[in-house]
């Protein structure tokens, strides 16, 4: 098949049609003209807009980046401010807390003191009451003892002891017991 093709080509003439010189001048001429026209067209209508838009994009991106940098710095400043604020708030809160605590402690200790005093006073009053009751009881016991000793003496001696004598006897026996116990 290929050999037939070559045979056909050979029959057609002298090898490649590209080596036929008769059409060279017009092709050279029009190649230069076409190229020149395309060069002019590109130069006038295509390359400037592309160049312009690329430049514009570069400057836009640069501007945006600068702005972003500025905003970042601002944000960092805000963060620092915020942190400072937070720190001061924290400090203040601690202060308030401390104050509240000390106040509460003071109140507590005051209340405790009051309570203690109260208790002390109540204890004293109670002791007084106790003393009084004891004395009362002692008096009563003494009275009963006098009565008993009077009756006992009356029974033993068959005589009546006067109240004064019985009292003296009781007093002297108490004295005796006290001296013994001492």
């Amino acid at each position: 098949m290929i050999s037939t093709a070559f045979a056909a080509a050979e029959k057609a003439g002298a090898g490649l049609p590209q080596f036929e010189t008769s059409n060279f001048p017009s092709q050279i001429f029009w190649a230069i003209i076409s190229f020149g026209i395309l060069l002019l067209l590109f130069r006038k209508y295509i390359l400037p807009p592309i160049h312009h838009i690329l430049d514009e994009r570069v400057s836009r991106i640069r501007g945006d980046m600068e702005e972003a940098e500025k905003m970042k710095q601002q944000a960092e400043q805000v963060l620092v401010d915020y942190q400072q604020q937070l720190a001061s708030i924290h400090e203040r809160a601690t202060e308030i807390l401390d104050e509240a605590q000390s106040r509460a402690e003071k109140a507590h200790s005051k209340a405790m003191q009051q309570l203690e005093e109260d208790v002390e006073r109540k204890k004293a009053a109670f002791a007084e009451d106790l003393e009084y009751a004891r004395e009362q009881a002692m008096k009563e016991v003494k009275g009963i003892a006098v009565e008993i000793s009077m009756l006992a003496t009356k029974k033993l001696l068959n005589r009546n002891l006067s109240r004064e004598e019985a009292g003296k006897m009781v007093e002297s026996s108490i004295e005796e017991i006290r001296s013994l116990s001492n």
Binding site: M1, I2, T4, A5, A8, A9, A12, L16, P17, Q18, F19, E20, S22, N23, F24, P25, S26, Q27, I28, F29, W30, A31, I32, S34, F35, I37, L38, L39, L41, F42, R43, Y45, I46, L47, P49, I50, H51, H52, I53, L54, E56, R57, R60
Partner: protein, 248 residues
């Protein structure tokens, strides 16, 4: 279509056909299919970029992003190869890349013509680049241009060897530039044509084999269209860099 009717001429679609005979000062400037497809490449390239940039916005749409990517791509090629000194040649390099690219790509449309498969077209571009770099070097460094062929720090006795080598490698630049693009385009299209003829000439139950290959090869050709435009552009940048360097 029967086998007998298929014209087996894989080189047929490289044939330049004049549509309109024209002459300017005795020089033939006829409008041929090659010329028309050059115009179409220019028109499509410009129209696409124009469409992409119909309302340039800071936040680009898809097409605008693509146009910007193309611009940045060419800028990077230029900056990498000229170490940032060649920015003023951006329009030239940009046009060169897209002129070649669209000639290559439009040539892949079935029934079209590929101007870059014409040696004379690629040679015109290559010689233009070559002459431009020479003129630039002379403009920048005057007669110092010729010192480029005798690299500094070389022992004098090596000069008879080095100067011809440098000269040949210098003169080979436009030749290799022109031939590479021309040969790649021609070979690719010839293979596509051969595959197509094979497909049509094969029995009907075998059509899919060469035609299937053609699909794969078409993808490869699109890739090659980009690669060749890229190579041509890069080498142009390298030559520009040499010109800017002065001492070469």
């Amino acid at each position: 279509m029967s086998v007998a009717e298929v014209k087996l001429e894989p080189l047929h679609h490289f044939q330049v056909v004049n549509y309109l005979e024209l002459e300017l000062f005795g020089v033939d400037i006829s409008i041929s299919n090659s010329v028309v497809w050059m115009w179409l490449s220019v028109a499509v390239a410009f129209a696409l970029f124009r469409f992409a940039l119909r309302s340039p916005a800071l936040v680009p749409g898809r097409m605008q992003a693509l146009a910007e990517a193309a611009y940045i791509f060419i800028c990077r090629i230029l900056d990498e190869n000229t170490r940032g000194r060649g920015r003023r040649f951006l329009p030239l390099i940009f046009t060169l890349f897209f002129f070649i690219l669209f000639c290559n790509l439009l040539g892949l449309v079935p029934g079209s013509f590929t101007p870059t498969s014409q040696l004379v077209v690629t040679a015109t571009l290559a010689v233009a680049v070559f002459v431009f770099s020479i003129l630039l070097r002379i403009y920048l460094y005057g007669a110092g241009f010729f010192r480029a062929f005798a690299p500094s720090g070389l022992p004098p006795w090596l000069l008879p060897l080095m100067i011809p080598i440098e000269l040949i490698s210098f003169l080979a630049r436009p030749v290799s530039l022109a031939l590479r693009l021309f040969a790649n385009m021609t070979a690719g299209h010839a293979v596509l044509a051969v595959l197509a003829f094979l497909g049509l000439a094969a029995p009907w139950y075998l059509h899919w084999v060469p035609l299937g290959f053609m699909v794969v090869f078409m993808a490869l050709e699109v890739f090659i269209a980009f690669i060749q435009a890229y190579i041509f552009t890069i080498l142009t940048c390298v030559y520009l860099d040499d010109a800017l360097e002065g001492q070469g």
